[in-house]
């Protein structure tokens, strides 16, 4: 028989096909209602524009929804998910082909296309889907990684799609057997079933079984479609939607602006105070647990779990629609439930958990569907700080110190210019024609260890002949810790004051050794009229070396590892400049830790956490120090004053007799370009 005639009869052996079409109607209605119900809730959130820059959004959709770049980062989950996901797509395409062929009367399901695609490819991908499902089931029932959520729903979903796939093969196999399909072998797995069943079943049994399983398959598929939007399978639609509407800004620019003239409540303590996108985020969660798995606070045993924040609020949101709160059936109106407090009323949002976040952004980087966990945590902190004035004492001290003294380091014995003693550093008043401003930062000026980094940076700039000046006593905190702790009001006042001051001095370019200041200038000050060309010192110094203005003379023999500062790396996508400096200053390439670059592990100092005394057995810097000491590095290069103090503490507590020192990249470079090693 000629291959060009190859096809099959669509409803072979099936009578009352109308029943299937009839079933389609309630299926689509129920499924549609499931989606509608979710979207209806989102519409109660505050407005936010997430439809701008469509080209970039489509690109993101292709990379992360279609090609699933983030999903496949986790090898085991990546493999099984790819198998099931591609299986679903291929099988859905196959069904669409049948639909076009049968219901549109376009006979496309024939010939080579029928054989290569509709028979062979679909059959293989169906089998791979089953492999994927079995892998997922193995992971869920035998491996049981801690990051997953173990629900009956998840198990049911696997069981149902497994049955759908298996019944599909049975229908195919028994049809091939009963019709002696001449092209049957093009569907290898169906053909196997046909060959195996043939000798065991009579034609009549085959036909009866085929019809029964066909209907079972149809009912399962329709049932699954109707049920899916009510389960985490809704991610099939919500994930691409969430990726399309994700923030296009860098992580460092993800905190929401508050308009104090208009805001009814400051910060968030109810679902009603979230934007629609925040609410959509709750529904988009696929329960993969990667956010919590990568959360440094969670890793060291603190109660913070970004996954649980999202899932608990998802449950809270769903219950609120039914007027249920806190899992009890004390009925309220959906409106009052939607407006009722969320902080501490679901387990994951306890103040303890909220005050453990370092705002490192590892959760956001890990999330395959681009949920923004960290900004929600900061939103809730804002409520605690600004509406309740209820936050940890030592953070209060830092904030009060910023308020009254312009820096968070209460009790420092240093002044703003002490670091420059003996150097020829000019303030902007003395050198108003300076080309760049060296923003020293509170850490760089007021924390003893970091003053040496500031010295090294200033000396390098001087050596390279850069015309620079500092603000000196006029310098004040950029407001980063205040903002991350949740005092947006203080932050905005500082942002306006500093922007005005810098504009008044005619500052165009800023260099800073603090990634927090860097991020604030780069991503947050433009809203307050502060538009500057901002460089992290590693970027500027690397450029000076490239341009030949700094000439490294000797290379260190020490083995160096580089610890990515969250606010330089994940928040602003700069991973290479500091590594380049390490390479310049040492004989070998930097040693990479297991968690580096995008997946770097926080030092524990961001988000105002440097101002909190952590319990000795739950210190983020201790864990990072452990990871560092796992390598055989002798020098830990850093590029942030907070990392410097956190990692020095962590390393010194653990290193024992080993010679391991924490050094800023500028110090390494200064050692390399200067004859005087000590600077």
């Amino acid at each position: 028989m000629n291959d060009s005639q190859a096809t099959r009869e669509v409803f072979w052996n099936i009578t009352q096909v109308w029943a299937m079409y009839a079933l389609l109607v309630p299926t689509l209605v129920i499924a549609g209602f499931g989606f509608y119900r979710r979207v209806r809730v989102w519409k109660r959130g505050l407005p936010l524009d997430r439809t701008d820059r469509p080209i970039e959004r489509i690109r993101k959709l292709i990379t992360h929804a279609l090609a699933q770049r983030r999903t496949t980062r986790d090898t085991s989950a990546g493999i099984f998910h790819t198998l099931i996901y591609t299986g679903f797509i291929i099988l859905t395409l196959a069904t669409t082909v049948v639909f076009i062929h049968q219901d549109f009367g376009l006979p496309i399901m024939r010939g080579k296309f029928y054989l290569y695609f509709q028979s062979f490819l679909v059959d293989v991908f169906g089998a791979l889907t089953i492999v994927g499902i079995l892998m997922a089931a193995f992971r869920r029932s035998i491996q049981r990684p801690k990051k997953l959520v173990y629900t009956d729903e998840a198990a049911m979903i696997l069981a149902v799609i497994f049955l759908i796939a298996v019944t599909g093969f049975l229908v195919e196999g028994w049809r091939i057997a009963a019709t002696s399909d001449p092209w049957g072998h093009w569907s290898p797995f169906g053909y196997l079933i046909a060959r195996a069943s043939g000798p065991l079943m009579s034609d009549e049994t085959l036909k009866q079984s085929h019809a029964a399983v066909w209907w079972t398959h149809a009912v399962l598929v329709f049932g699954f479609i109707a049920w899916a939007p009510y389960t985490k399978m809704a991610h099939v639609a919500f994930s691409p939607f969430n990726i399309y509407t994700a923030s296009l800004a860098p992580v460092g620019a993800s905190l929401r602006h508050i308009d104090f003239d208009k805001a009814e409540t400051l910060g968030v303590n109810s679902l009603a105070a979230f934007t629609w996108k925040d609410l959509a985020d709750f529904d988009a969660c696929t329960e993969c647990g990667r956010c919590t798995n990568f959360c440094p606070a969670n890793t060291v045993g603190k109660s913070l779990s970004p996954r649980d924040i999202i899932l608990d609020l998802q449950l809270f949101m769903r219950n609120s629609e039914r007027g249920i709160q806190n899992g009890n059936s004390a009925l309220r109106t959906p409106h009052s439930a939607f407006n009722s407090p969320i902080i501490g009323t679901v387990e994951a949002t306890s103040p303890d958990a909220l005050w453990a976040c370092t705002t490192c952004g590892a959760c956001m980087e890990a999330c395959p569907v681009f949920i923004e966990q960290m900004p929600k945590i900061v939103d809730m902190r804002r409520f605690l700080v600004m509406e309740e004035a209820d936050f940890p004492d030592t953070m209060q001290e830092a904030v009060t110190s910023i308020e009254s003294r312009g820096h968070p380091f209460r009790g420092t014995s240093l002044g703003r210019m002490d670091w420059a003693e003996g150097l020829n550093v000019q303030t902007i008043d003395q050198a108003d024609d300076a080309e760049v401003l060296l923003w020293v930062g509170c850490g760089g000026a007021l924390v003893e260890r970091n003053t040496r980094v500031t010295r090294a940076t200033a000396q390098l700039l001087e050596k390279a002949g850069v015309s620079f000046a500092v603000l000196g006593r006029e310098e004040k905190c950029t407001g980063d810790p205040a903002r991350r702790i949740g005092n947006e009001f203080l932050f905005q006042n500082l942002a306006k004051e500093n922007s005005d001051k810098l504009n008044r001095h005619g500052v165009k370019k800023i260099i800073t050794a603090c990634p927090h200041c860097f991020n604030t200038f780069r991503n947050e000050y433009p809203q307050f009229g502060g538009n500057f060309e901002v460089y992290h010192h590693s970027q500027y110094l690397a450029r000076l070396v490239d341009e030949g203005k700094l000439k490294p003379e000797k290379k260190s023999e020490k083995k160096v590892t580089f610890h990515d500062p969250c606010y330089l790396g994940r928040h602003n996508d700069e991973y290479d400049a500091p590594r380049q400096l390490v390479k310049i200053a040492s004989r070998s390439n930097p040693i990479e830790m297991k968690q580096s670059r995008e997946q770097s592990f926080c030092c524990g100092g961001g988000g105002g956490m440097s101002f909190i005394e952590e319990p000795p057995d739950k210190r983020v810097n201790g864990e990072r120090a452990r990871q560092i000491l796992e390598t055989d590095a002798e020098r830990v290069a850093v590029g942030c004053p907070f990392c410097m103090t956190m990692l020095e503490d962590g390393i010194n507590a653990r290193k024992g007799e080993r010679d391991v020192r924490v050094m800023d990249v500028a110090e390494l470079l200064w050692e390399s370009v200067s004859a005087d090693v000590r600077g």
């Binding site: 309740e388 002044g415 002490d418 006593r473």
Partner: protein, 267 residues
């Protein structure tokens, strides 16, 4: 119960030691880069008043005698939820002596009206004279209890918990009374809610000059009736290290004792 809390704005006492300078011409601390803050004991007094109001009710007025900038301290007090604020602008001597301050405050308090309880900090972090409270009580002709860290009320009047070297004393007092407040773990000033900080800028704040008050404004402006600052200097700390030698323990102890004797005699 009408409560008046007197507060003073001072130069930040936490300015790093090496940034601290003296303006010997003016015989005062140089402002330098230091900020102006509310004196901590005054904040303890306000916190004590706020907690007392939570238990017993009442109305709190914060009062300051100082420069225009003292408005910041009063606004902060309003943010902490004081009910009203009044500033007597000092256009006279920049560092009035405690007697002048007490007379200005007393005149302002009489202008505010009926009062039951006047709270002041036990001393200020700049000059540290620690006399304003007692002098104010004299001016107003009411009793004064010092070094109190907690105030309660019962049917007989007030119960004041006073810190002493030996422990605490509980005083029963009938208002009106002036109380100076010292710090304690329970009266650490609260952090105001941001919403209240924002609101504090919209609240009215009464401003008076000395001429608005029923007092001898000229002598308060002169502020030299009581004491005069003749000179001001930063104490120079000198340390000398000396090892006491000796052949045996006994002789070293003996030498040490003799050396101590010599040094103390020389002082």
């Amino acid at each position: 119960m009408n409560i008046v809390v007197c507060i003073k704005q001072i130069l930040d006492p936490e300015v790093p030691a090496r940034d601290f300078r003296i303006d010997s011409e003016r015989r005062e601390a140089a402002r330098g880069s230091a900020n102006l803050v509310t004196n901590i004991f005054c904040e303890n007094a306000l916190e004590t008043a706020l907690q007392f109001r939570e238990r017993a009710g009442g109305r709190i007025t914060v009062l300051s005698f100082g420069s225009e900038s003292a408005e910041d301290s009063l606004r902060k007090a309003l943010a902490m939820k004081a009910d009203a604020a009044a500033l007597v602008i000092n256009d006279g001597h920049p560092h009035p002596d405690p007697f002048a301050v007490a007379r200005a405050l007393a005149a302002a308090i009489r202008k505010i009206g009926d009062f039951d309880l006047i709270l002041v900090g036990r001393e200020s972090g700049d000059w540290g004279a620690g006399q304003t409270g007692a002098l104010l009580a004299e001016e107003l002709g009411v009793p004064c209890v010092n070094f109190v860290d907690h105030i309660d009320s019962d049917s007989d009047g007030l119960r004041l918990k006073r810190q002493t070297d030996a422990g605490w004393e509980i005083f029963a007092a009938k208002p009106p009374v002036v109380v100076t407040i010292t710090n304690d773990e329970h009266n650490v000033p609260r952090v105001p809610k941001t919403r209240d900080v924002m609101m504090s800028y919209r609240q009215t704040l009464t401003k008076w000059t000395l001429d608005d008050l029923d007092t001898d404004a000229a002598s308060i402006r002169a502020a030299n009736s009581y004491y005069e600052i003749v000179d001001l200097l930063i104490p120079v700390k000198e340390t000398q290290c000396e090892f006491i030698e000796g052949d045996s323990l006994e002789s070293r102890v003996e030498n040490l004792a003799r050396r101590i004797q010599e040094v103390t005699d020389a002082l």
